[in-house]
């Protein structure tokens, strides 16, 4: 048990990721306000992106810009840039999703005058 806790504590990034993911899922599932659901969704997406970034980290490494042109590249000196590039694209996807979802929420609010899920479902029937 102690070793397990030690192993966990050595990976604070993963603890943060799991906390954010579960919090986001919990908010999305339990809240009745549509905007709050979106906040939960945003947390889930952000936590995944956070996890993706941390996979590229190395101890003692710097930003992936070559220190000098002449040397042969030493991979240990730089963090892995690929997750960052992937993250950029994932953030674009996230922003687009958020934009579409806010547009939908605005449309729903204009039509039903409420953001509460129960209210809207009552009016649908």
């Amino acid at each position: 048990m102690l070793e397990l806790v030690q192993a966990w504590l050595q990976r604070p990034n993963l603890i943060a990721f799991v906390t954010l993911l579960l919090l986001g899922l919990f908010i999305t599932v339990t809240h009745h306000n549509l905007v709050k659901k979106l906040i939960g969704l945003y947390l889930v997406q952000t936590s995944v992106i956070f996890f993706l970034v941390t996979t590229g980290a190395k101890e003692g490494a710097t930003v992936p810009i070559l220190l000098s042109e002449s040397d042969t590249v030493q991979a240990d000196l730089y963090v892995n840039p690929v997750p960052h590039v992937l993250t950029l694209t994932a953030i674009v996807v996230q922003v687009a999703t958020l934009g579409v979802s806010l547009a939908l929420v605005a449309g729903i609010y204009r039509k039903y005058g409420s953001l509460d899920e129960d209210d809207i479902l009552k009016r649908l029937e």
């Binding site: 993911l21 969704l41 889930v44 995944v48 996979t55 979802s101 939908l104 449309g107 039509k111 649908l124």
Partner: protein
């Protein structure tokens, strides 16, 4: 030139989407003609790709000349090009059908609507051809974003359905991204061909198992696998009649194709690894989805809902075939996937046309309306034959291979599930057919009953396609068998 064909198939709708504001600047009605022309050119390019691939072998296209695994790679193999041809032809037919079933409150949104439609089709092409997992994710999200927008077009109720679909779809996308970052953390690559070299040795690793599970959950939401299907019936029911055939035919199918690609092309079923637990999970969930979907379809009153639940059952049938993990099963599953896309398209074209021309939405209205329209009734009989699985339609041959693979691996529970689904499918189709041919007392207004020519063309071509897929099934299956043999699945 020929090696650029897959990129061309993608670029035709994509560039047209960007040019849409110019095309529609003077007259919004011109948009539809331009889009139809674009889809037609795309179908030609896809046919050329298929011809080339069958003749000379698969095309591997690396964007910008960056060689994989560093660069982004597209793979046009037999499966991908058949699927690209199917989706571009279906897009053409849906657009023809859209001419006769206009979307009512489109107003000033003509240009954005057609832009999103084109982006949807280019996204689908991307999913079909993508040779790297991250690319697959991005295209899946493009498809999903266009899907949410198109479902929400009519406003009101549809907005709520679109919002639910968005919450589920975005969660699915996040899970897929999480799964692929596990894969990246474990192997350091995202290229499918490169992963196929490394993942099979790592199947005991928790990161790979976790990644695979997250991807399955993510894609399961997107393909509306039974316990995760909550968004689908509402979304398809509330989507405008004009776009529901396209959404129903392709959205869930490409997610399923992506899962098949990961399962067979990346995890590598044939090369010794044999992760039989994954296959067991896939076919059991497939059996649950097929029987459950068919039961739920039997309980519905709305035509579009019946067809939506029927679609869920058919996703399950494909998974039963795929889950056998054998060559016959995979070939049958892929063949049925193509058939299912055509059948779903046809069912929603039928539901939309009958709703628009006769004002019929539910079974009761169908029973009390006198429908005398040889085109609609004939097309419905053919699609019913194909959905139930009777020769000479393509549905029969797809189901035949799926049942054959289940018998080969002595999996009698799966055989029973397929047969039970078939019986239930027959039950709900006979219910619809009986009301369709019944002489009701409500006569529709005579001016609306005439079938417009574009609708006739799209109904006729779809029916011909279903029979054609049956008559030439051996050729298509042979092509698919060749692909699956290359995967190392052959005996």
């Amino acid at each position: 030139m020929s090696e650029h064909l897959p990129a061309l198939v993608f670029l035709i709708p994509f560039v047209t989407a960007i040019c849409m504001p110019i095309a529609g600047s003077r007259d919004g009605r011109r948009c539809q003609t331009v889009v139809l022309a674009a889809f037609f050119c795309m179908a030609l390019a896809a046919a050329a790709t298929l011809w080339f691939v069958v003749r000379y072998g698969e095309i591997r296209y690396s964007f910008g000349g960056w060689a994989p695994p560093e660069g982004i790679e597209w793979v046009a193999d037999e499966v991908g090009s058949i699927m690209a041809l199917t989706l571009s032809v279906l897009a053409c037919l849906c657009l023809l059908y859209m001419r006769s079933v206009p979307i009512d409150p489109l107003g000033g949104r003509t240009i954005p609507f057609y832009t999103i439609l084109l982006l949807l089709v280019s996204g689908l092409t991307g999913v079909v051809f993508a040779g790297d997992l991250f690319n697959l994710f991005v295209f899946l999200e493009i498809v999903a974003l266009c899907g949410y927008t198109l479902v929400g077009v009519p406003g009101g109720r549809a907005l709520v359905s679109a919002f639910r679909y968005l919450i589920m779809g975005a969660l699915g996308g996040s899970f897929f991204l999480l799964g692929l970052s596990y894969f990246y953390a474990a192997t350091g690559t995202l290229n499918m061909a490169d992963l196929a070299q490394r993942v099979p040795d790592l199947l005991a690793s928790k990161a790979v198992i976790g990644g695979l599970s997250f991807m399955f959950i993510g894609l399961g939401i997107k393909m509306a696998l039974m316990p995760l299907h909550g968004w689908l019936p509402d979304a398809y029911n509330d989507a405008p009649d004009a776009v529901s055939p396209l959404l129903a035919a392709l959205l869930t199918k490409v997610a399923l194709l992506a899962w098949i690609r990961i399962l067979f092309w990346v995890v590598g079923a044939g090369n010794g690894g044999q992760p039989s637990e994954i296959f067991a999970l896939v076919w059991v969930l497939g059996a649950v989805a097929s029987v459950g979907g068919a039961f739920l379809a039997l309980a519905q009153r709305d035509l579009k809902r019946i067809f939506a639940y029927g679609g869920l059952a058919h996703i399950g049938l494909i998974l039963i075939g795929v889950g056998q993990g054998s060559q016959t099963g995979l070939t049958g599953g892929l063949f049925y996937l193509i058939n299912d896309a055509v059948m779903q398209c046809m069912l929603f074209v039928f539901a939309g046309a009958i709703g628009h021309q006769f004002g019929v939405r539910t079974l009761d209205e169908l029973g009390s309306t006198h429908i005398r329209n040889p085109w609609l009734i004939g097309a419905f009989v053919i699609v019913a034959l194909s959905m139930i699985g009777l020769p000479p339609t393509g549905g029969f041959f797809g189901k035949w291979y799926i049942v054959l693979s289940a018998i080969e691996s002595r999996n009698y529970v799966a055989v029973a599930a397929v047969i039970l689904t078939t019986l239930l499918t027959m039950a709900y189709f006979i219910r619809v057919l009986e009301r369709l041919v019944r002489v009701g007392k409500d006569a529709p207004d005579a001016s609306r009953v005439e079938t417009p020519l574009p609708l006739r063309v799209s109904l006729g071509v779809l029916s011909a396609a279903m029979i054609g897929l049956g008559l030439w099934s051996d050729r298509i299956v042979n092509v698919l068998l060749e692909t699956t043999t290359r995967l190392g699945l052959g005996s």
